[in-house]
């Protein structure tokens, strides 16, 4: 089947792409749009490394086919900083040492960002719930939870 033309809003800009219908959003971002901040982990929706925000909701980009993003608003980790300034959430991750190897970080940031977009003052339990679909195998979760909590204040 020929490629399909897909239009959507990516990090605040309208984009039009041509993609085969069985391509995932993750592949599109990384392979066609060179947005490699979104990480490719398990590709079966278990690790959360590929988390992006679609219409204000955190989703695994490996579980979304490109045609499904038609007409939606997608935010990736590259869309967090504004005018060269890191988002307050990113600054809080740095300040609270919530990064070690960094592989889970983009996904963690996007799950946290989606939480704060919908709930600006989350409880610790709500933070834990929001990142429960994101695996970190080195930093440990305590600093990450702290970073999200302090960014929400």
């Amino acid at each position: 089947m020929p490629e399909l033309k897909i239009c959507f809003n990516l990090n605040g800009r309208e984009v039009t792409v041509m993609a085969p219908p069985d391509m995932t959003l993750l592949e599109l971002l990384r392979e066609k749009l060179d947005l490699t901040g979104t990480k490719k982990g398990c590709e079966i929706g278990e690790c959360g490394a590929c988390t992006v925000i679609i219409n204000k909701k955190a989703v695994n980009s490996c579980m979304v086919l490109v045609p499904q993003v038609e007409g939606t608003e997608v935010i990736t980790v590259e869309g967090l900083s504004q005018n060269g300034e890191l988002d307050s959430l990113q600054q809080s991750f740095i300040k609270n040492h919530a990064i070690q190897c960094g592989f889970c970080t983009p996904g963690m940031l996007m799950s946290a960002k989606a939480l704060l977009m919908n709930n600006p003052n989350p409880t610790k339990e709500e933070i834990k719930e929001a990142i429960s679909g994101n695996l970190c195998r080195c930093t440990g979760y305590i600093q990450i939870i702290k970073a999200i909590a302090s960014a929400s204040k």
Binding site: M1, T51, P67, Q68, S111
Partner: protein, 288 residues
């Protein structure tokens, strides 16, 4: 190789496409099962009908004693919906038990049924509520109880050309106690080892009505009618619930036969049953 990817905006268009497309077609809703199976190479669809843009399948509404849930309602939407929280909180509990926030933001109620996993988190709740699936095809509708629609592990009686469009569940009478529990390796992203749901209506400590399912324990989710019938009409007591636990354990053993996992699972089936009944009886505080 995908020959056709069709993304209709109306249900009627989807049904027409299904009735004319010659090859094997897969229906895409939330994609949280289909995409995993495609990636593993277990499914190689020639055609995909993507239902994700059909707004008419995304509504939740109350119709008399029924709550009607569109097949494309996501687990997140179901868990957060005011009518669900007010009328059938146990549905919200089942929806919240699914996967992770990311999965709940994509996965759908209809998909959970159509995928027919024996470990589905929400399906036992739908069955406990005597949920009925409304199924459309080009020339009409049919209604099938969810418990009958699922005929085996990963098998439904859905025919080519058919789409689940909504699920109708009974709203339990006021004062019905409800409980849902999931047993998995961890809270998030665990496949249910066991789950269970219980609805309990008492009148002066006499059990008037009870609906009990231990899910992920049998090939298809079904009400444990033998246990339910034993309980109805009796005075509720801790001893009675313990008896129900033993009966549920025997029920599972009778359905599945002895398995390598039985030594681990059956004692949990028993305790889970007792716990569900207790929480439905006394509320969450019973085990706080």
């Amino acid at each position: 190789m995908i020959k056709e990817y069709y993304q209709p905006l109306k249900l009627a268009e989807a049904l027409t496409f299904l009735s004319v497309f010659p090859g094997p077609v897969h229906i895409l809703a939330g994609g949280t099962d289909l995409l995993v199976n495609m990636r593993k190479g277990q499914i190689k669809p020639e055609g995909i009908v993507d239902l994700s843009k059909i707004e008419e399948l995304k509504t939740i509404s109350q119709e008399g004693d029924n709550l009607s849930i569109g097949a494309l309602v996501t687990f997140s939407e179901l868990a957060a919906h005011p009518l669900v929280q007010e009328l059938i909180s146990v549905l919200a509990c089942g929806a919240k038990a699914v996967g992770s926030p990311q999965i709940r933001n994509r996965g759908t109620v209809g998909g959970n049924i159509a995928n027919a996993s024996p470990a589905a988190d929400l399906v036992p709740v739908l069955v406990a509520l005597d949920g009925v699936a409304v199924i459309a095809k080009q020339n009409g509708l049919r209604k099938v109880p969810v418990a009958e629609l699922i005929v085996g592990p990963y098998k439904t009686s859905l025919e080519p050309g058919e789409i689940i469009i909504r699920i109708e569940v009974n709203v339990p009478p006021k004062g019905t106690g409800m409980a849902y529990k999931k047993v998995g390796r961890r809270n998030a992203l665990a496949i249910s080892r066991l789950n269970g749901v219980c609805l309990l209506k008492l009148e002066d400590e006499i059990i008037k009505d009870v609906s009990l399912i231990i899910g992920s324990a049998t090939p298809t989710p079904h009400r444990f009618t033998d246990v339910e019938e034993y309980l109805v009409g009796k005075n509720i007591s801790q001893e009675l619930l313990e008896e129900a636990g033993v009966m549920a354990r025997e029920h599972v053993l009778a359905v599945t036969g002895k398995r390598p996992s039985s030594n681990y699972k059956l004692p949990v089936v028993e305790r889970l049953t007792v716990r569900l009944l207790q929480v439905a009886w006394k509320g969450d505080k019973a085990y706080a």
